[in-house]
Symmetry: D2
Subunit: 435 residues, 4 copies
């Protein structure tokens, strides 16, 4: 099947906020400049192959619901290639420049590593041929679906599985490099525990560190210059995952001397599952020098598992973009749509609608953030709150030159300090009026 | 008032499991040896002055409910001294060796720092006189109650408040040292944010690091050899506290080069509020070399705020003690009862009952943990799970000498790895039969 | 003090979206008609006396932070009257028509019921004199702050407390009636339990039903025609409150034959604490015929206690207004601002800013909801989803005339049913583009 | 395959607490009398066919992990029959008397309803032949797995699906009746919504009521005398399920006049997902006269989805049994093990170990509850708390004969009421010492 996979779907264009066309952008205008940079360069949007082309609509209580026309019910090489063609038609029509994949999404597994690798090579060769000016934002190895990984990959209690995971990551890095991927991701869905009673957490974490050291070494060996990214998630499928959140992951990287070799891929739904706002996780990554990529999605605030919905909250998108602007952009990372249709959304056009509303939401976030930054009153409110530290004594404090005795003396001189209002409601007002 | 404060309460004694006397221990037998150490030395139990003597029963929707006979409704020096006498009668009758305090619990605040310090000196002198062979487990400064600290102490947006916090910690460290305290705690109830919109998180964290560096310097200057402890808590009163959990705090300490100067005080209720089991937080602290003290309490699994209840869950107590035993004990830290009566418990004897059941629960935990360790089958189950790493190639992996290419070769040799059952239900069975 | 309490604050006016004036409305335009009704009549906004005039900024870890100029630190009758004058200046300047109160907010408690009632009478007489064309949206009795209510009011284990609660509600209903209040609220902050171990839940619920029956009887006796409202909240201060959520409360009312005598006061922050979206609780109340009033506030999605923040989420406000419009409005209820300043917001103007952004948010919600309704495409999407039930057989089902045998026969005729896409992403797109 | 399915597993016997044999009961002694009833009659334990024989270990991120020897990878009639034989060997060896099933667990679905029914008949005939003195605790129809049910069964937006669900329930009731089932369960996994934006909740609830009315009518028509049970669950797979918790379900049943026709099947893991303790849900069901059956399992307190673990918490088991004893037992319901092995537990013996520890846990709960009841001091503590209502005036209140005016008069006579301590810590102490 080499024809059109989405015959009813036109190239998605920007038609502006007054358009009623579901298959058009109302806010995302790729070439428009905002704060001196084109929208498309702020976002570097990427389609996630797994959700868009391998999402079946199955859930723990339900069988698959999607029956995309290009599928025939098999996981054959033939269909894998067909999907890859559909992928490029999809990202072309949507007008994004990047895609992301797991090794096992794009090509069938094999009975042996050799067979799996051969399958992967065949599909990757096609992808290389098809991708033209499209690029891989990142690739990764799927170390969670196969039963061999039930106790983990790098943290499996079985040496043979650790080795298998190493071999699989080796290959996935190679193909990511071959496809000129700009980053490589580690998501440790099984790197964690179900119960501490039967787990040697310290030994598992040591293994994880060894594994990541080897990945760094191999990256250098093959000349892959992309960023290595770790994607924190607190739990699900395991009860506890070792990359719980940004700070936990940073602690691990620092403990094992890996802090300069990795950045983080922050996912909004993972953030909220870990008890943080998405904005908090992004800021934590940023101020630890670790903000590398964003998985743009959202969860349901009342639901305790990963729903991977398309983000539609304009306020959240604005917060995200405030951090990205403060970070000077997100490249060589980007915004990957780690988001899927609801199980009950079964029309082919729904795939487009989900991505369009997601891109438009981020575009609204960027426009709002730019408005806030250009207006300046929110930044000014924050700056003023800390202005006492801009004084001479404040500078001594910040330089580590004000010891407890000196400060005690100052307190005795100064008496009870004045404490100003935090003006949170005013900050919220300024923020909201920019939406 | 220098007479008896608890006239109806006898010295609490061990009467064994068959006793029906609420004012006796059924499991905690201070001098009994378990795994080669006396029970009292495993626990080093401490009474928290604030909950036991300053807890009023007030809550955000309700006025105080307790009317302890030694109170007269004022926060005078006279009553402060009376409470201190009551404190020592209490810990003597309960048979514990330690107590913990905040500066402002034990002595009235003053209009100036000088006045507050003078008040503190007067009460501390009495405590020194009264304490005999009892000891301070840890002291701390209360940097959260006074309105000046509404934006934080070390992370306040106001320089004057930072200085005041420094002066207050300086004094609190001095009196802790004077009372031969074995540890000093930092709990940052206000060191966090309510909203990121009006907060410069990076600047605040830098200030916090400077503050802690100064504390380390001052500790050394005055010759205080006690451990400095940070007590993680995710939130409440703020929306986000910087010492969110053990891993977050460890990341902060590593980032700012403070990792060797601090340990952690893990509180079970704080653990569960951060989305972790208490056991997880203890193990995380332990394997990061940071387990310093335990605030022995529990929360309500359905409630989203700190309830600081006396721990009565035998299984949880067993898990706690498994970690403590693995850690070789908890000294120079101990088990502080950061636990309070329910607002509706208003009899003086309830203060004893709460502590007795708390101590008995921990004692059951210790006895169960010892039983598990002596039996050995749980440890054996865990050891066996990882035995493939005890092989020659496993050792290469653990030594960092097995690179991806080597491992890939092994996979090709070995074929699909065998993966054994995790035996979680068996581990749970072994664990539960020890309770 | 009979002068101006807010001398720096002008009458708040509508200046439109381009205004940068924090003390002006940008979206709320009281007299403007939306869907055939003036904005002020859609909302019937009310100021909550307790938060605005008795909120101290105190929290479980902190002392009060507010020092409003009209306070002198006492809870005297003199200051109570001064606050009442400030209240009316506040609601006049803000331009709202209603206020709400608890008995003990507005007047000092007394040593006896008689004294408390006399204090209340004196303040209420002043309020009557001052209120002019302003009205009481609802009154209520504070049955949670005084220690006598620590085990509950209507559900206290003590008969004397049950009686006291009855006497207090009797009086509060009388003064609400005297002030021409349009509703009367029951919020059962202490009507619940801390532990099932010491609680006879069934007996307590029976008492609660008796209490509410008596309230209905007394209402009728005194000719008070206002709606009786119950305000669900899942927990806090107790571990479990009997009016957990809308459905739980409806079950209670049905069980005891009280369903026709009460409606519900839905609070958004209480909704989310109970695990539901605010929209869900409003819709549940609406379709049970119980939507009576809205406490317009919001919680923090990462926080497990009642934060009572001013709502600033435009999407949530739009959902709320969709339900209110579907309900044909909210009168005789209204929108009460059960919202408070953050503890750290200590300027008098912050009181205005919080309410202004809250009113503007609701106004944006109303405008957006009207846009959605006028556009019609969201309603049409929903209507279409269920259109198979608009058929002849669908009508039989809905009329209860299609039994299992008939339906089985139809299945055999029809074969496998067609199932259309739920179009959730399209619905979200339509919704978001209206914001 | 008509031989032995579990050749290495003996008949599980009671060996008492000192046994170290994982394949023996340490606490559950079927024939032993506790409080005048045999243990087996208190529990009426049931094996859930789906978890034990159809659980694959698959999860949203992982492929199946179990490879039970009797499976051949197909869902054929042949294997269905083999599994049924394995089921009876399992429950015989385990020594339980009941089993539970969904229609589609035990027999393959068909391309048409007729084919599915024929498959079901064939397997059910075999079950009838094999079951001997074993009984069906309850049967049910699986209305959630097939994609046709993606929008619900009884609450689907599609009439054809409603009809299909009716036909399927009709058949499932027939076969439950044929197998002498003692109850029939409705679990509405898809009866709820993912988003209110595209849902007509009121219409859906009306349909649900019609559906249940028809079920009642059909039950009567075929002479099935078993109890109809509804199993509340708050969410998962949907964002919101209509049978959220016990109180929500009771409200629905009352609203639609169905309250006398149904009871509830309370599942502990569902209870905690809805924000309640399991004990709360059981007590709520009990005092509403609705306690019909218990799905004995537990969740992970830190996890936001249904983990369906075997209950191992002795304290929780004790609370459950306190309610069951208060309820006079659970018959004609029982304790169904709606619990599954962890994904990583892959040995056949793990199936037995999980059930054994679950049964032993419940047996410990029963023994502890009996000890508490025989001791009487906990009951006495509760009785005393409410004793003021046992007075003459208390009786007037409870009889609805004490109006507000009468009570106000009493308050004036009595003055400030005395309020006793709630003695929660003492209650917890008494409770824990019984464990």
């Amino acid at each position: 099947w080499e024809g059109e996979f989405f015959p009813g779907i036109p190239q998605i264009k920007y038609e502006g906020p007054s358009s009623k066309n579901p298959l058009a952008f109302k806010y995302y205008n790729a070439e428009e400049e905002v704060l001196g940079k084109k929208m498309k360069d702020w976002f570097r949007f990427s389609v996630a192959f797994w959700h868009t082309f391998r999402g079946t609509g199955g859930d723990p209580f339900g069988a698959p619901t999607k029956s995309w026309p290009w599928e025939d019910g098999t996981n054959s090489l033939k269909i894998a290639k067909r999907r890859m063609r559909a992928n490029f038609e999809f990202i072309n029509k949507l007008g994004v420049d990047y895609w992301c994949f797991h090794d096992r999404d794009i090509a069938p597994d094999g009975k042996t590593l050799e067979e799996a690798n051969a399958n992967l090579d065949e599909v990757v060769a096609l992808a290389k041929e098809l991708q033209g000016n499209k690029k891989v934002l990142w690739g990764t190895a799927q170390l969670f679906m196969h039963p061999r990984y039930m106790h983990g990959g790098a943290t499996s209690s079985e040496l043979g599985v650790y080795a298998y995971a190493a071999a699989q990551v080796k290959k996935a890095m190679e193909v990511t490099h071959y496809l000129a991927g700009e980053n490589y991701v580690f998501w440790g869905g099984r790197e964690g525990y179900q119960s501490l009673l039967n787990t040697d957490m310290e030994r598992e974490l040591n293994h994880l560190a060894r594994f990541l050291e080897s990945a760094v070494a191999y990256k250098k060996k093959i000349g892959f210059n992309g960023t290595l990214l770790i994607e924190p998630k607190p739990q699900e499928p395991t009860k506890h995952q070792y990359d719980w959140d940004a700070a936990t992951t940073a602690n691990f990287l620092r403990k094992y001397g890996l802090i300069d070799e990795f950045k983080l891929n922050i996912e909004c739904n993972h953030a909220t599952l870990s008890g943080h706002s998405c904005h908090h996780e992004l800021e934590t990554a940023r101020i630890n020098g670790l903000l590398g990529n964003i998985d743009a999605n959202t969860g349901d605030p009342q639901v305790g598992w990963d729903t991977d919905q398309f983000l539609i909250d304009i306020a959240e998108a604005t917060n995200i973009m405030l951090t990205v602007i403060r970070n000077g952009g997100i490249a060589p990372g980007g915004f990957n749509f780690d988001a899927k249709l609801r199980r009950e959304s079964t029309d082919v056009e729904d795939l487009f609608i989900g991505h369009i509303v997601g891109m438009d939401t981020m575009a609204r976030g960027l426009r709002n953030a730019a408005k806030l930054i250009e207006d300046g009153s929110l930044d000014e409110l924050v700056r003023k709150r800390y202005q006492s530290f801009d004084s001479e004594i404040g500078s001594l404090v910040e330089a580590g030159k004000a010891d407890f005795e000196f400060l005690e003396k100052k307190v005795k001189e100064w008496g009870e300090p004045k404490v100003a209002s935090a003006k949170q409601e005013l900050a919220e007002m300024i923020f909201q009026y920019a939406l």
